[in-house]
């Protein structure tokens, strides 16, 4: 077998594999989008219509218009989700950046132990902590508040964020900071003016990660919140659209709208995300 056909064989296998993967990833999204354009009746038809015979934007109009009850409720959930996710992201970055920097640069007693204890949480499935956290939140009087979710998401997101950013700071030569301090910076200015811009890909990746985690989270939101007006999107959608009978096109349209911010954000920032994962964290 010549080298050329050997390569071609592998390349073909690669393509087949990629296409299968693509179908696996994209087909549900596509089905969601198709269904959202159908009428209630068409959505339940068997055999299913792969191309809607009578596509319409009725569901989207209903969801995005604050004039009707459904739209008001949906936009309300959306606002809740944006608030919880944004707060989680901002707080997460604000804590992860200095924490990661300290782990990377300073030598203090218990540094190693502390770093691993940060990662310790990630060894257990999130559900394990559901009841203990719920009881804790009740003690603190935080049940049915956004704070309960923001605090929970922070503790879940921080380990990876810190770990990811530490990799970044480890890779930035300390001489850059020293040079900056000799060139006239205070210690903080050296960090702010020199180190921060260099770690921007890591910070952006961390932010995306925190946001997406918070945006998609379901179990904790379901447990901690019970006021109908406070629900986040994942829980709200489930409750709202399946209360009496499932409105599939409505649910699919809402799901599609919900996934738009995540997808857009990821598309814009994916080059930083990839850089963060390859440049920073992979270094042992």
């Amino acid at each position: 077998m010549s080298r050329r056909s050997y390569n071609a064989g592998w390349s073909l296998t690669g393509w087949v594999f990629l296409i299968l993967l693509l179908i696996f990833a994209v087909a549900p999204m596509l089905w969601m989008l198709i269904t959202s354009f159908k009428s209630q009746f068409a959505a339940l038809k068997y055999p299913p219509e792969f191309i809607p015979s009578n596509p319409n934007l009725e569901q989207y109009e209903r969801l995005l218009s604050p004039k009707n009850e459904v739209g008001r409720q949906f936009l309300r959930y959306m606002a809740n989700s944006i608030w919880v996710s944004t707060a989680t992201t901002i707080l997460g970055v604000a804590v992860a950046v200095p924490a990661a920097y300290a782990f990377a640069r300073f030598r203090f007693p218990g540094r190693q132990a502390l770093f691993f204890s940060v990662l310790f949480r990630n060894m257990f499935p999130a559900v394990v902590f559901l009841m203990p956290l719920f009881i804790m939140m009740r003690w603190m009087g935080l049940v049915n508040t956004y704070s309960s979710l923001i605090i929970t998401y922070l503790t879940f997101g921080l380990p990876l964020s810190i770990w990811l950013l530490k990799g970044f700071y480890d890779n930035i030569p300390i001489e850059l900071e020293q040079a900056a301090r000799i060139d006239g910076c205070t210690r903080f200015q050296a960090f702010y003016l020199i180190v921060m811009p260099l770690s921007a890909p890591g910070i952006i990746a961390t932010a995306i990660y925190s946001f997406i985690t918070a945006w998609n989270e379901y179990v904790y939101a379901l447990t901690f919140l019970n006021d109908d007006q406070k629900l986040t999107l994942p829980v709200g959608l489930q409750r709202f659209f399946t209360e009496y009978a499932t409105n599939w096109p409505g649910l699919m349209a809402a799901s599609f709208i919900m996934s738009v911010p995540v997808v857009v954000m990821f598309l814009i920032l994916q080059k930083y995300f990839v850089r963060a994962l390859t440049e920073g964290a992979v270094k042992a």
Binding site: L176, Q178, A179, A180, R181, I182, T186, Q189, I194, L198
Partner: protein, 364 residues
């Protein structure tokens, strides 16, 4: 420019003393090289001047004023790092302007000063590039430019040439020397390469184990090394050191060793007598030794280990007792391994060290 004074400078990490009570003065406009093997405390000393490390005790003064309590930014010094530490997300122009910007120099002055520094270092055509787009030599120039653009009192350089290839290093070495002469800048330069220190510096501070071994002009350090460490460290190949016992007989002093004996000339005999004990160490540079093929009076017998021709000069390694000597001979000479030879000492260039203290005893 300025004078830098080190007064009993100590830096310790817990029980470990990296720098042990170092004192010396760098005069205004002097180029001083801190040399020593890795871990000798030379970079630590430099970082203490820069303010990147805090003194444990002692004091460092620049132009008579203590700087020990100042932040690095307030010390009016500039530093060139081994890896250059250019800001990767800034262009050359922005790199050069950064120290001025941080010192709130007016914008139009920044432009002029950057242009002047760029002209001096011949990097004007590179101003819009990023550091990653430059060669090693160009990065080196930019690093130098960033140091000199704000006209500091003292330049600190931490092995600035060690990342360059051999040819470029020789070129940059002469450029740095020229740069020092033109600016009459006060420079403290750290290197592990004694040749670099010898060729460029006005004075050398030889360090080992955190202790300043000797501080003097390179030629004096070469000719009168303070102790066996300096003798072995400075010069390439390093000085041949031969442990011996001094014995007084019939009014003459003999240095004896395993199977050999050498009558010491009066100047060296006096040194040997001044030693704290009978144990001495003889030191001789490769160029002060001669080789004879036949037995010659006043010479000691040895066996050739290897012969290394380098073109201009041939180095012969010979075994004398437990020691190995390196002797330079004319490349025309035919010498073979395992041959028996006789070594002749030029006693006017022979050094005598006290085996106990390892210090050199000045000839009497």
């Amino acid at each position: 420019m300025a004078q830098v004074e080190f007064q009993n400078v100590v830096k310790s990490y817990g029980a470990f003393e990296a720098v042990k009570s170092v004192s010396f003065t760098v005069e205004d406009g002097e180029f001083v090289a801190l040399v020593g093997p890795s871990g000798c405390g030379k970079t630590t000393t430099l970082n203490l001047v820069a303010g990147l490390l805090d003194l444990t005790s002692g004091d460092i003064k620049v132009s008579g004023k203590t700087i020990s309590d100042l932040d690095p930014k307030d010390r009016d010094i500039a530093m060139v790092f081994q890896n250059y530490a250019l800001y990767p997300n800034k262009t050359v122009q922005q790199n050069l302007a950064f120290p001025l910007k941080m010192r709130k120099v007016p914008k139009r002055d920044i432009g002029a000063k950057v242009a002047e520094a760029a002209r001096l270092l011949e990097i004007t055509h590179l101003l819009d590039r990023y550091p990653r787009e430059l060669s090693g030599g160009q990065q080196q120039r930019v690093a130098l430019g960033r140091a000199l653009v704000r006209d500091p009192q003292v330049f600190l350089m931490d092995e600035p040439l060690s990342n360059l290839d051999a040819k470029l290093r020789v070129q940059m070495r002469s450029e740095l020397k020229r740069f020092h002469q033109d600016l009459s800048a006060t420079i403290i330069y750290v290197t592990h390469d004694q040749l670099e220190a010898m060729t460029m510096a006005d004075k050398m501070a030889v360090m080992s184990g955190g202790v300043l071994q000797q501080y003097d002009a390179p030629e004096r350090i070469f000719e009168e090394p303070a102790n066996t460490f300096v003798a072995g460290f400075v010069g390439s190949p390093s000085m041949n050191l031969l442990p011996a016992t001094a014995v007084e007989r019939d009014g003459a002093v003999y240095a004896t060793g395993d199977g050999w004996e050498l009558v010491l000339a009066p100047r060296n005999a006096a040194s040997a007598r001044a030693s704290s004990g009978p144990g001495i160490i003889l030191g001789a540079r490769h160029s002060s030794l001669g080789l004879h093929d036949t037995e010659t009076p006043g010479c000691i017998q040895a066996r050739v280990f290897t012969v290394e021709p380098t073109g201009d000069i041939t180095f012969v390694h010979v075994d004398v007792g437990d020691s190995t000597f390196v002797i330079s001979v004319d490349p025309e000479r035919r010498i073979a391994a395992d041959q028996t030879v006789w070594i002749e000492f030029d006693q006017n260039k022979l050094h005598v060290f006290d085996a106990q203290t390892e210090k050199r005893i000045a000839p009497g």
